[in-house]
Amino acid sequence: MRYVAMIALALSLSLPLNGCAFFRGHWGEDFDPQDVEYIKKGTTTRAEVAARFGAPDEIVHAAERDIFHYRRYDSKLGYLVIFSRFNIMGDHLYVFFNREGVVDEVVFGKRTDRLKFQIWPFGD
């Protein structure tokens, strides 16, 4: 019983020194999977993509093709007393257009689904 009281005393001394916190921050709008499925290779045009997703964050001209790049970032910070961990991940959508302005290829990757609140800084 005395040990428990001692541990409780030590913890009560240490916890108020720092406390705990959870923060969340994101940049850009989340991608709706239905919107991504709406883009069809060989039929959807540049104007239709722009109407659905808005202006791209970046336009890359590569190998005589235009690529619309849309991105979104999400971050989660967990902080408890002496440990903290800040994880950041990004989602990216690339839409490749041919010379006629029709979709040639779609590359989409959603990493933020795997983003977690973590406090423990060790390990992976």
């Binding site: 005395r2 030590a10 240490s14 720092n18 890359v60 440990f83 991940m89």
Partner: protein, 144 residues
């Protein structure tokens, strides 16, 4: 009956526990991670002249950046893993001193890397490489 844990031992154990907890309050472990790390083992499936951008994306996800130069495209995957460890002995004085001077030792290390994939105009991999391969960081407060 013999007392296996005499009083002085229990007091000593309790004091040790309190000391360890007090020492822990003087430490800080911080971690920053941007995207999942990609290791050389993760990219063994890539074959020059055969693997397409779609194959790479299916295994590694969408790249963070695509740039172009003449007739080639370069897809880049960026990732970082930072570790920071600090010991502030001044925090121990907070229990009996009106002032808490900072007596810190700290060190932060960031492992940063970029995995680059060079593609031809048809989206077929021509080259791939890691740009930096900085050493793996570890928690270490020694700044010297």
């Amino acid at each position: 009956m013999i007392d296996r844990f005499p009083r002085w031992r229990r007091v000593a154990a309790g004091l040790c526990l309190v000391m360890v907890l007090l020492m822990l309050t003087a430490c800080q472990w911080r971690r920053l991670k941007i995207n999942d790390l990609i290791t050389p083992d993760d990219v063994t499936f890539i074959e020059r002249g055969k693997t397409s951008l779609a194959d790479v994306v299916a295994r590694l996800g969408a790249p963070d950046e695509i740039t172009s130069r003449e007739n080639i495209m370069v897809a880049r995957y960026r990732f970082r893993d930072g570790k920071y460890f600090k010991i502030d002995a001044g925090r121990l004085l907070a229990f009996w001193s009106p002032v808490t001077p900072e007596m810190s030792m700290a060190r932060g290390q960031v492992q940063t890397d970029v995995f680059q994939v060079v593609l031809d105009a048809n989206g077929i991999v021509q080259e791939h490489a890691f740009a930096f391969r900085s050493p793996t960081g570890r928690f270490n407060p020694w700044p010297f």
